[in-house]
Symmetry: C2
């Protein structure tokens, strides 16, 4: 297996883009990444696309071919173009498959893209589409929505470890603060603890400001063999590890509902491949689909011991100027969560951080970065470790 580098990244502004189509936003992100890499379209050997539910959001499956076509790569070069899906972890898997392609020597230049257009259908149906990431027969059909499932995790975590309602709110406050520094974030408003605590209850104890939003957006990163990366860019970022793990899809089948074992296994595999410890991570983009998810991620990624996630946010360890800055982009909460795009955007964001190109949200001197992308309540987790 060859070493692999990322030579170009791009992502659209995230938000509700009523006037733009799925194909428009995907092409915008792809062009930004291609321009960033300074490559020409004909150099691209293959493409992977992360997308959760084009079938239901825009009545379109086969989106890999659609995007290859609208990029001009289908008719001109007939490149392989493959969609991968594992709910909200679809983007992370696109990066992983692209990585495997390049690492194997099969292809040289491979695009990993992610896209979701979520606002073209009504909100009620959106909740049901998202419920298709859970075990439909045991969870979705019984009325369990994603806020409901994560509320179970939150309640148990609070009961068992003493995590407080305020700890959850602090995650949202931090990520909104970070989002205010990111011109591409969906929400750029700074908020207070009270904003969260006084927001409408969604699924006790989770309130509106504990939940990531419904978002349109697309992201793309371009991978190349490490040995030629310097030909394209002065600042390649290397993929030191790519790991993926699964767990039961239904929450009730887990050994512990407050632990995402898929995150535990994926991150352990990633740390081993990269030869680093969790404390070596300088910046991380983690899957904060709900505030509780970020606290649980701290623990399952090994940033602290089990049950201490609340303390980490309380003590500012994960703030942008803390020891392990988490979600400087604003995370899913404030930057937004176009589900299939999120895992790719996380990688794009960490690349910007490691290059020193993250503008006002730049983490000082970041050399090693981690991305953590979760499908559903954790039946799939994908972890990447990147370095300068």
């Amino acid at each position: 297996m060859r070493d692999v580098a990322i030579i170009g990244v791009g992502y659209t502004k995230f938000g509700e883009m009523w006037g733009r189509s799925f194909r428009d936003i995907m092409i915008e992100a792809g062009l930004e990444a291609i321009t960033d890499a300074g490559i020409e379209g004909r150099e691209i050997d293959a493409m992977y696309v992360g997308n959760m539910s084009g079938g239901r959001f825009i009545a379109q499956e086969h989106v890999s071919a659609l995007i290859a076509d609208y990029s001009g790569f289908a008719r001109d070069f007939h490149i392989p173009a493959t969609r991968v899906e594992a709910a909200c972890a679809s983007g992370g898997l696109a990066v992983r498959e692209a990585y495997i392609n390049v690492a194997s020597g099969l292809h040289d230049i491979v695009v990993a893209a992610g896209v979701e257009k979520m606002t073209d259908i009504g909100t009620e149906m959106t909740a049901d589409v998202l419920a298709s990431a859970s075990d439909r027969e045991w969870e979705g059909f019984s009325g369990a929505t994603f806020p409901g499932l994560y509320a179970l995790i939150a309640n148990y975590h609070m009961h068992r470890y003493g995590t407080t309602r305020e700890d959850l709110a602090e995650v949202s406050v931090k990520n909104h603060n970070n989002g205010s520094l990111n011109p591409k974030a969906q929400f750029r408003n700074r908020i207070s603890i009270e904003t969260v605590l006084n927001s409408p209850l969604v699924a006790d104890p989770l309130r509106l400001y504990d939940c990531s939003p419904i978002t349109d957006g697309a992201a793309a990163v371009i991978l190349a063999p490490a040995e030629v990366a310097k030909k394209y860019t002065d600042t390649p970022v290397y993929i030191k590890a790519s790991a993926q793990a699964s767990d039961t899809i239904a929450l009730h089948d887990r050994r512990d509902i407050a632990t995402l074992d898929a995150t535990v296994f994926a991150s352990k595999r990633a740390y081993k491949q990269a030869g680093i410890k969790p404390t070596d991570v300088d910046v991380a983009e983690v899957h904060d689909c709900f505030t509780i998810a970020e606290i649980v991620a701290y623990e399952d990624l090994g940033f602290c011991r089990k049950g201490e996630g609340g303390m980490l946010i309380r003590e500012g360890v994960t703030a942008i100027d803390g020891d392990i800055p988490v979600n400087p982009s604003g995370g899913l909460k404030a930057c937004g969560h176009p589900v299939g795009a999120t895992g790719v955007k996380q990688v794009a964001e960490v690349v910007l951080q490691l290059r020193g190109d993250a503008g006002k949200r730049q983490v000082d001197g970041a050399e090693i970065g981690l991305t953590h992308n979760v499908g559903g309540t954790g039946a799939t987790a994908v972890v990447h470790i990147l370095s300068r």
Copy 2:
């Protein structure tokens, strides 16, 4: 890249399985493949699942995690499990991704699975789900169904090359004849030319018997490094080539609507990788979603020159005892077409042929086999070449 072998295969009976669920049929096919390979679950390193539209057919995305879970591989081993999708080519892509994983050295034992449960929703909606494989904005929303799109191909082929209505019917007669020999086929009734010609018109010139049916079914194949394959089986079948290509998703954008360039490019790449010529192929399972698709496939795969596909079926060249037997399983037309499963079942079927285990539909002395799986009207094509 290492050489790769297939050490186990399985597929369910294809048909309308009202009393069985998506997860039931997938587990049945997987168990059959595992039993066939003589491996234990804990030996499996990763899984790829081809599925076109779980989101719309059964309101379930994230099916890779679901299947890993119900196989016991998620909770016990936390294996990577990834869904791939390119409409009706999803199964072929699952085999291809599994192949890349093993060839790269990343994993040793990898399952490629494919599944579709199509009969749990009404027929009218099924046509619309299938239309999501086309360019929704230019084709589906304008009312172009798949029979309609393939009818355009058929009309042009008949006009340009003199292919006759009877040639199309002969494909259906051949595949029904083959299906009658396959205990797992959806349709086991032999038919005559008149059956096809007198069947209801669907989209002129295509009639009911020109169209593959709506089918439930699942298939699985198990891949291993070639160097250890003999440890598991006396009859490994080797993957000599795996190739994939894309084309414009909308038919009207093609240079020639009677040619599937994705098939042309994928098969050329595959022949090159395998170091063989089209005439070296002893048995093929090709994508006969409509009778015209099989005739066009003959040409685009290089079994004959462009325009001569009608002659091939007329002269019996592709009959089970012909020079290049095509679709001895009954093909999509008679064996059935559970869209995400089809590409995997094609590979499973060719493995049975090359082993000499294909029962009454056995092709004498087959040593080299080819599979050809198409997404939509040919925006994606996947070709595998297998050998004893």
